[in-house]
Subunit: 410 residues, 2 copies
């Protein structure tokens, strides 16, 4: 698409602001680390032999720098309208931007409260749902498309589109809850939260860029997505620099919520919430695999991150006891161990019985350790990120070449 | 004014939600107090003989309950438009509501960060200024009146109105910074932060109610103000119940910022920012009186709250040393002590010299102690609230009967 001079210069301002966001985050995070420790906000890095105390929740610095940058940016896309005809002011675009920032701000706040106060699970589900109300309001008012296009091979049975109505709003609301929590549970080794978020954010930016240069469709949506995602990439990259192995800071729940909500917001208001799901395949896999533990069919320890073998210096799968699990949990263990997704550690290998046995925790990170053997922590993070990159590439194949086969060109 | 059925039922829903907000805050504050203490969020009540530890920053609970209620409320005023003609949807009203919540949410978040991390003064001025950007954007787009009506006696010299342009935006931005910080410095005794905010909020609600029933002007603005201020009154009243002498919880910077920004938001977007200044006269007085200490012309101790005389059980003015002050500071002391606003405590009363002398701290609360003598803490809070109520009554006289003399009827 041919961008107007206004959009081009707004994008240029956004890129410049993002560069500034990167530089400021890079300096502020280490500068504020001591303040966090002084305020009692630190945790121990349990995967290091000496378990050093590490400042926790520095993602809030990212979040604040990001919000400040976007507050400064708010007027930029509207500069043309300031001195001209106010009656043509694009109030819709402003409402979209305001609702996006409102939802993101709420989630950064909630994450910070979680880091400081340790909230309950019901808060972690209820509050993100409420935080999507402004988003969905604005979606309704400005767009309100709630149908799904059916792939050509299925149209003989289902028709060309299905109108989901209310259910589409439920889907979007669930997407927000899923995004905010799913990054938070694919976590626990140095750099993995910020790393996976960086890959997803780069995929989103690439997707919008491809659409902007290759089609004339959805220009406003793709611009909006870039406006929000470029400063996010900048602040995440700077945080990752300090959070990479060996971490000098931890990102905290704040960062995971901030990242998840930013993705949900651009997915919903950028109108590509279904493509967004494709970028979240590793998180979906990790979430689905975790369900037997989240439902307590199998014992769920407080932390499920891999454990350090002090002799080898390598990480190994962490384990849960099978003593307290239910019948259903044991069936899951049988099936998942047949699929190679968990491993059972029998008390007496000669007499394999679940009584007294342990099982590797149900997480993607442990699956990678089962498949590729014990790893150094940084290698393990790179493996997770490799999975994220691979699924993203697959997502692009599904989204573009494959979509043109199973759908008519849009 | 005659309200439509839509506005009447939205107001009814708001009142019902406010009742719920009161009940929820009343229960949640004591329920969460232990969580705050466990997370290290507590302070010592220095005006009690045994200095008990009190959970600090419970204002964040108010803030979250308030935000949740307003998120639930967002769609309510628009119900008529949901199933009708979407092209007539009042996007302006939605943008106003979204920008209001965005600014308030930012300030609750900033306040909470201040409680946890103890921010610097530059953050406390810079971040509220930035948080007003969405407000001012929306003010510009939807209203953009930047003139001031001149009182009749002055019109011969200045004309009927003065166009302030950019400066009016600077004034509104300063108003937000002032509101968020001025409640925070008229603080330090049980119940005074929430108490003064409750009086101001009731004054705002009364002002909007009077206008709604007595004129046809500004119906949308007054409805907007009531929508935002009624849940605020509810959550504040519930917090004050627990914060009243002897406090079981402290409200924290969070509450002061939350209250201040809510006032600034309704003042700006409700288009009565000048009337709002009248409601803040005690805070303005306290701020102006504090300036010699804020500028460090006179020593400024970390805390300027009154100190307990353990023998009498009464509070007395706290003191600052005159040893380190500047020449300018000593001039201020001379003038203010002549006005009865501070008292100098000489080392040797027979030989009055500022060397080695002390002065009562420059706050409204200390002034009241000078004028009315040492007080029990709850009596002192009541005195401050009495001052707030009196100035509010004066504000109504200035705003209504007097305004109709010095201005033409609007
Ligand atoms: Mg937590
Ligand atoms: Mg503080």
């Amino acid at each position: 698409a041919q961008l107007g001079t206004n959009a081009t210069s707004a994008l240029a301002v956004n890129v410049a602001l993002s560069a500034l966001v990167f530089a400021v985050t890079l300096r502020l995070v280490p500068a504020l680390a001591a303040t966090f420790v002084a305020a009692g906000q630190f945790g121990h890095d349990v995967n290091k032999p000496d378990r050093p105390p590490i400042p926790e929740g520095l993602g809030v610095v990212c979040g604040v720098v990001y919000l400040v940058a976007l507050f400064v940016f708010i007027p930029v896309p509207f500069v043309d309208h300031f001195f001209g005809d106010r009656s043509s002011f694009p109030l819709e675009t402003l409402a979209v931007l305001l609702s996006a920032l409102l939802s993101i701000c709420c989630m950064i706040f909630l994450g910070f409260a979680d880091d400081v106060l340790d909230l309950r699970w019901r808060h972690k589900v209820l509050l993100p749902t409420l935080a999507t109300v402004p988003l969905l309001m604005v979606y309704y008012v400005t767009y309100n498309k709630t149908h799904v296009v059916i792939p050509i091979p299925l149209r003989f049975a289902l028709g060309t589109t299905i109108e989901l109505g209310m259910f589409y709003y439920v889907f979007m609301s669930l997407l927000a809850v899923f995004c905010t929590n799913s990054i938070n549970i694919l976590a626990g080794i140095n750099g993995v939260e910020a790393g996976q978020s960086l890959v997803i954010a780069l995929a989103i930016a690439a997707n919008s860029y491809i659409q902007l240069v290759s089609t004339d469709c959805c220009v406003q949506e793709n611009l909006f997505t870039l406006y929000l995602i470029l400063p996010f990439i900048a602040t995440t990259a700077a945080l990752l620099y300090h959070n990479w192995y060996p971490s000098r800071v931890f990102v905290g729940d704040t960062y995971c919520y901030f990242a998840g909500m930013t993705f949900a917001v651009v997915g919903i208001l950028g109108h590509f919430s279904k493509t967004m799901v494709l970028f979240f395949v590793p998180q979906l896999f990790n979430f689905a695999l975790s369900l037997p533990q989240l439902f307590r069919w199998v014992e769920c320890p407080r932390h499920r991150l891999p454990r350090l073998n002090k002799d080898t210096g390598l990480l190994e799968p962490s384990r849960a006891s099978l003593a307290s699990g239910t019948w259903l949990g044991r069936q899951c263990v049988t099936i998942l161990s047949a699929l190679g997704l968990v491993r059972v550690y029998y008390k007496d290998t000669a007499k394999p019985s679940y009584d007294g046995a342990e099982v590797s925790n149900f997480t993607l990170i442990n699956v990678l350790l089962l498949w590729f053997g014990p790893q150094r922590e940084d290698t393990l993070t790179k493996l997770v990120l490799a999975v994220q990159v691979l699924t993203t590439l697959v997502a692009f194949v599904v989204r573009y070449p494959l979509a043109s086969i199973v759908y008519n060109p849009l």
